[in-house]
Symmetry: C2
């Protein structure tokens, strides 16, 4: 490193974890544009939820450091090069994916205020305001908390201990990649931004995937890495759309219709590989049973909770029942994947439909067992919309461990969406 | 890296493997000074000997590249800082270990010519001339051949394959260090210059040993690393002294006396921890049985061939038989060590004598099993004095697999030194 670089680095008050507004998931920007167009004035609250209560975040992370990192994110704005890339790049084969009015708004955006308070050994971290602004906090907030918790562990390690830690983690990632390499017709993307070990580590994983898997590596959900490494930006939509649409529903009839309203809005905007159904927000089986026929024309389905093999069987059966050929469709697995599960699902479903994988936390943060007390193991941290225009949101999913919302609202949603007994599966990440 | 550094690197015709005359073992310099004083005009031939015939060095290493590296070594001379360090540093507690006349000679030294010829799939590489000059070729010549063979394998690997290769090798070294850390009263030094993977790798291993073992890491045989990292330079003497002295002997009586003449010259020059007997050149048992009493007063014994536990028992028995207390003595193990053997020997002999280890190739070049066909596994390459003033040299050692010299001379030496049946042990490195 030259002297100027070193002196430049000294000028940083902190070592920022998130240094760009597009260091976020691509689907956030797609959804943000959709919200900006369809529901711009919705007032929402997003809240941090640590599903791993055994990890005492407020004991591990200094509140001052956390504020510095969050404040730094509030100082970020879209750079000229980032804007040019978003405006000019081809996403999913389409130019000008982001419209001018959205880009102008995004170029002027600063993230809104946050509310941070310690509660016992956890932090209460919430974001309130207009949906298109608040929603962009989710990914950077998670990445900051994950990385600050990691830094607390790394700070007390020696230089060679650190080298060997990363050597072991690199070896582990590469061994996973070597196991994936022989799989025929594999298509796998990095979905690991939110709970990554760090930006540099995610960037390393993406490059390793590219070198190790070639065309089988289909891209990354991280826009900044996609831009810098010139790989595809990957992602479509998430639970927050049906959750907020549902919370805004005036009555039970409107509630039952809400998840389809989301996809109807999406249908108007997007085609082809961006038409991916996320069916599990209020139970996959009921969602598909009651789905309008035009949805069967969509390209694929993302399986994000419950037993993934069962989910894929349900998808295939449903396409067949609607006269669609599953071999013309795509199933995207994205829930808690690691290499064993990927290999098993690929072998089970390739040849019956097109299979893709969105590999998240266990790609970009598998430091399990590498330090004493497993203090770097990833854990289940999320940041979700909890209210919309004052109404609480609800998520059921295909695994009751992932359900969220007030108990009475959960009961109402289960009734409205006809969700019965569900299999309870352990949530690791 | 800054632009100037990058441009500077472009100016290198080659990437030199050995960049300093003190990138060599400390004992070479001690022996060189002894030879410079006692036998300066001896004419010797040193020759490369690849004991691993299955490794076709001439197929793996380009002759032109080999010549470039050897030519580069011939262009080296002692730098001002290196000279200052050798003159001013404390070695084994002693200042001015190297006398002014030797240093003046060394400051003017360039290594003499080499003779290189391809023979089948091997190289014949020999060095002829005055002993104090020629002897300094041994370590850099071995390091060059080892590293060029490694580079041939590394050259075809991708960037991430390389990262992961080193990640695995680092992890392996660190796991070895972690296994050594709990050993009480451990004393271990790096002896791995000659068959190291590369200079940078050896340098890394030394730093890892220092961080991982603290005071249990006693230093390195490599002078350049000792200087730069400010650790102890370690080493005393080697087989080349008795081998050349023996070859110069006029008759069988003089031959029988030769190994003791070496140590008599050494006795005049050095004290304390530098008085380490290397007893195995012509069989340990006979050497000790016939040794003069003053040798029993020496500080320790280095076990460098045969079964190391047996060698240590012989040493302990011999000290007792000469009225010496083994707890006041030191046994240094240095033959083909790896961590299992180190732990076993430490547990077996600590408490009965002082134990040290000189850990060589399996510290600085354990890349076994890390690439296909085990193409980076270390192998048994040596560079030895083969003639002195026209007479062939002979080495027997305590393992017939390590014996060298013409058959009739080997028979004569066995007779003169009373060497009978010997246990044959596989030589790995």
């Amino acid at each position: 490193m030259d002297i100027a670089t070193r002196v430049y680095n000294h000028k940083w008050k902190i070592d920022p974890i998130v240094r760009s507004l597009i260091d976020t998931d691509f689907y956030k920007l797609l959804m943000c544009q959709s919200v900006f167009r369809n529901k711009p004035d919705t007032e929402v609250t997003f809240s941090l939820i640590n599903r791993s209560k055994a990890v005492p975040l407020a004991d591990l992370i200094d509140e001052g450091e956390l504020r510095e990192q969050l404040d730094h994110i509030r100082s970020l704005s879209l750079s000229r090069g980032e804007s040019t890339w978003l405006r000019g790049n081809t996403f999913y084969g389409k130019r000008q994916m982001f419209r001018s009015d959205f880009m102008e708004w995004f170029e002027g955006l600063r993230l809104p205020a946050y509310h941070l308070e310690r509660r016992g050994d956890q932090y209460e971290l919430t974001f309130e305001g207009r949906w298109p602004e608040v929603m962009l906090w989710e990914i950077p907030a998670l990445a900051v908390l994950m990385e600050l918790r990691g830094r607390a562990v790394l700070n007390v390690m020696g230089r060679f201990e650190l080298q060997v830690l990363y050597a072991r983690a690199m070896t582990r990632v590469w061994e996973k990649i070597e196991r994936l390499r022989p799989l025929e017709a594999l298509g796998i993307a990095d979905f690991g931004t939110r709970r990554r070990h760090s930006f540099m580590w995610q960037d390393w994983c993406v490059q390793a995937m590219r070198e190790g898997l070639g065309k089988k590596f289909t891209g990354t959900s991280n826009c900044l890495i996609a831009m810098r490494r010139e790989v595809e930006a990957i992602g479509t939509n998430a639970h927050e759309l049906p959750m907020v649409y549902a919370a805004l529903a005036k009555d039970d009839d409107a509630l039952a219709k809400a998840p389809y309203d989301v996809l109807s809005d999406w249908h108007e905007e997007h085609e082809g590989n961006l038409r991916i159904i996320l069916p599990d927000t209020y139970g996959t089986q009921g969602f598909l049973d009651n789905a309008p026929d035009w949805l069967a024309g969509w390209t694929g389905m993302r399986i994000d909770s419950g037993d993934p093999a069962k989910g894929a069987e349900i998808a295939i059966d449903w396409w067949r029942s609607r006269g669609e050929d599953p071999m013309a469709k795509r199933v995207i697995f994205s829930d808690g994947l690691d290499v064993d599960k990927i290999i098993q699902l690929q072998q089970q479903f390739s040849g019956r439909t097109n299979v893709s994988f969105g590999w998240g936390t266990l790609l970009t943060n598998d430091f399990r067992g590498l330090v004493p007390d497993d203090a770097l193991a990833p854990f289940s941290l999320v940041c979700k919309a909890v209210t919309a225009n004052g109404h609480p949101t609800v998520k059921l999913s295909d695994n009751p461990e992932k359900a969220m919302g007030p108990a009475d609202e959960i009961a109402r949603y289960k009734r409205v969406f006809g969700v019965g007994e569900q299999e309870r599966l352990k949530v690791v990440v």
